[in-house]
Symmetry: C2
Subunit: 94 residues, 2 copies
Amino acid sequence: MIRLLADPLRAQIVALLAEGPACTCHLVEDTGAKQPNISNHLRLLRDAGLVVSEPHGRFTYYRLVPEALEAAAGHLADMARLARARSEARRECP
Amino acid sequence: MIRLLADPLRAQIVALLAEGPACTCHLVEDTGAKQPNISNHLRLLRDAGLVVSEPHGRFTYYRLVPEALEAAAGHLADMARLARARSEARRECP
DNA sequence: TGCTGATATCACCGTCGCCTGATGTGATCA
DNA sequence: TGATCACATCAGGCGACGGTGATATCAGCA
C-alpha cells in the first residue's frame, strides 16, 4: 500500500485530499494532469482502500481514509523501533 | 524517500535490516537475489540515508537508520491527522 | 606478492507502469 | 429528449526502472 505513495502524482493527490475532500475536477485543476490520468490514479487509490468515493450528482468526491495512512505509519514506526532494539545484534559472517 | 520502499526487494532488505545489522552476503542469502542486484539496492538506500554502511574488513555491514523511518512515519501520521481535522472541509465545485 | 573471496560498478535487456487520445456512461438542464 | 458536463474506461506508445552477466576493486591470507 505504501507502494502507491511512490508515484509523485499519486502522492500529490493524497496530499491534496489530506486538506479536505475534493472532486476529480479539483484534482485535475490543482495538479495540471489530464483527467483520465487522475481517474486512473484515483481508481488505484480506491482499490487499495486509501480513499473512498462519494458520488454527489454529476460530481464524485474523494475522501482520504486516515486509518489507511495510520496503518502505514504504524508499520514504519514499528520497524524503526525494532531497528533500535536490535541495533547491536549484528549477525556474524561465516 | 518512501518511494524507495515501493520496490518489494528493497522493502524486504529494509525489513531484514530492521532485525539487526547485516552484511551483503546475509542479504543475498536471505533474499535469494543476485549479489549485484542487492548491491544496487543498497546503494540507493544508502544515498537516501535510509541505511549506513560500516566496512569490516572484507565485509560491509549495513545498518538501518531509525530516524529516517520515523521521519517517513511522522509524515504519514501528519497527513492522517490533517485529513481527520479537515474531514468536513469539502470544497465546492463551481 | 599472488590468490581468493566479498563487494561495487558497468552495460545491456526486458518489462512494467505512467501518460494520453478516443470513447463510453450517467446525471443535470434547457 | 437532446445537449452538455463530469467522470470512467479502453487501447496504445513510451520511458524508466529492475534484473543479470561481466568486470573492477579491495581486503585478507598463504
